[in-house]
Symmetry: C2
Subunit: 136 residues, 2 copies
Amino acid sequence: MVETADARRAHAAFVQPEQACPIAPVLDIVFSRWTTPILWTLNEYGRQRFMELQRTIATITPKVLTQRLRQLERDGLIVRTYHPEVPPRVEYEISDLGRSLAPLFATLSEWVEGNLAKVEQARQEFDAAEQRPAGR
Amino acid sequence: MVETADARRAHAAFVQPEQACPIAPVLDIVFSRWTTPILWTLNEYGRQRFMELQRTIATITPKVLTQRLRQLERDGLIVRTYHPEVPPRVEYEISDLGRSLAPLFATLSEWVEGNLAKVEQARQEFDAAEQRPAGR
DNA sequence: CAGGATCCATAAGGATACTG
DNA sequence: CAGTATCCTTATGGATCCTG
């Protein structure tokens, strides 16, 4: 039996896509602001101290860096190690769970490499059509 | 020649991870708010009208829906078709470029399925350690 | 050094009402 | 129906100062 497009569209009216969309949960976890640069840095360059991260990310403020690191630690994606010395030393490294995101990031890189140019082109064409032809 | 961790960390100080992180460009394109539910819906249920989308997404307001649809159209991920009738009819469908995100979404779903529970568990353990043991 | 606390600017998003 | 326009609330991030 073939499911028609109309049947699928009728069904669409009964689901809540925020819940139905199965990737929604990841967004808050790995794609909050600053999280990908942090994870990427820790994955590429290994364990780093707080100040190292701040220098590496460059445009992030200590407050926001702290917030994001806490969230990532709470979600189990990074590991925070506190060394009780004077002055104190704290090191962050990516966890196994964090490393499990690698294939995902790889897929993303591939998409960027293959399709970002197409997006740029689409934008130029869209913007070029400033004299709206119809229906705007 | 083996690149040491220290060498890599030293190098990290000289790059700008916002630019170095190769997936940064995708975030604004496909992971802006509401974009994944929209793309997911159009990909799953096919072409839909404005009101259908609004009913499907349920908690989105027309203003925001319009904004997101414009952005997706500009980026070439969806196609907008205007039918000059009375009342007017507008249909949205996913483009080939938008469909090229399918493997990405699939990878995401897999990660969610396999690892979301671990995140939940990490959160509970983190929250359970309210009596901060050290370094907080 | 690694942050916590505080205050402030900006902007994204929601609610509501209205139009071609 | 498919949006626009307007107003307003809230969330996010930046700047600054301070501390164990």
